[in-house]
Amino acid sequence: MYGWIWRHLPGPVLVRALTAVVLVAGVIALLMFVVFPWVEPKLPFNQVTTQ
């Protein structure tokens, strides 16, 4: 999977490495700001009120 992505990134190694870093940062941002806030209330970790 990662090998396939690496082979399909354009440019010389340095450019590819930079693109890879940007891609990883994008995925982390997507997780932190979109996916985790959405999934968090659905998980049984942090309910503090009584019903």
């Binding site: 932190m32 985790f36 968090e40 503090v48 009584t50």
Partner: protein, 291 residues
């Protein structure tokens, strides 16, 4: 990861174009793909822990700061026309998510202060400890009930399990300071009068009688036991306002990192200080009980 070799010369240099990929190669590719997916999933879960424990703290700290400065602005607003008569707390018409009081627990350090937010929705609790709508307000007879996160989101109630009987929970409102103290724990009730009850800090704190006879300072309950925030905690039937004790109840999750149960702390009001308009910044002596 396992693909550093592909950073070298293109694959075509090593394998002639007409060579058919071996069956073993395909199996290896599939197995490697699955392995990479599993590692990725593990990293995502780790990242979620980082999010839950640290990132939400940062986000909530910003929101708490904002709520506190909003409240400070409101409190510092020009004094009402007839100051002496008007210095009465008003809590009606508070919107969900609005800050209306600050809580201090000196046992957690002199700098422990959180702005209490109206309402207990996820959005409100992200800002700070949330007041259960419909329960009493600070200083009112009844049960002033507040929920707070124990993990992440500022974790205002991180150490609530470490509170001891007689520890002060001080609620600051626009015109007053209300000093609540935690009630005796279950194992302290029987010997209270001769035991811990003799501590000067415990003045005004004693097992409550009458309908409150079975009320203790700390309890662990199931999430469905909503009656812990009732005027008489643990009882669905409410007494008339005149017979109500002035209590405060904190609720948070228990055990930490789980929502299986709730940790409940009950406190009783022992003192009330009116803020002196001529001496802003004056604080009650209970705030210095940091040990």
């Amino acid at each position: 990861m396992t693909t550093l070799d592909t950073g070298g010369p293109p694959a075509g240099d090593l394998v002639s174009p007409d060579e058919q990929p071996q069956r073993g190669d395909r199996v290896r590719t599939v197995v490697r793909g699955i392995g990479e997916l599993l590692i990725t999933a593990g990293l995502v879960v780790l990242l979620f822990v980082v999010y839950e424990v640290y990132v939400t703290d940062i986000v909530s700290a910003g929101k708490q700061r904002e709520a506190t400065s909003e409240l400070d602005t409101e409190w510092n607003d020009a004094a009402p026309a007839a100051p002496e008569q008007q210095r009465v707390e008003r809590f009606d018409g508070l919107g969900e998510g609005a800050g209306f009081a600050k809580m201090h627990i000196p046992a957690f350090g002199a700098d422990y202060a959180f702005t209490i937010i109206e309402g207990t929705t996820d959005r409100s609790l992200e800002i700070g400890p949330g007041h259960y709508k419909g329960t009493a307000y600070p200083g009112e007879p009844g049960n002033f009930a507040v929920a707070g996160h124990r993990v992440g989101k500022g974790a205002p109630f991180n150490d609530v399990d470490l509170l001891n009987s007689c520890d002060a929970i001080i609620v600051e409102t626009r015109y007053s300071w209300f000093v609540y103290r935690m009630l005796p724990k279950k194992d302290e009730v029987s010997g209270w009068a001769t035991g811990k009850g003799t501590d000067p800090r415990c003045q005004g704190v004693a097992p409550l009688g009458g309908p409150y006879a079975d009320l203790v300072g700390q309890q662990i309950v199931n999430p469905s036991q909503g009656e812990v925030i009732a005027p008489i905690p643990g009882h669905r039937d409410a007494p008339s306002v005149g017979e109500r004790a002035t209590l405060m109840t904190l609720t948070t999750c228990h055990p930490r990192f789980s929502d299986r149960q709730r940790l409940i702390v009950h406190a009783v009001m022992v003192k009330q200080w009116a803020k002196d308009p001529t001496k802003p910044g004056e604080t009650p002596p209970e705030l210095k009980e940091t040990s």
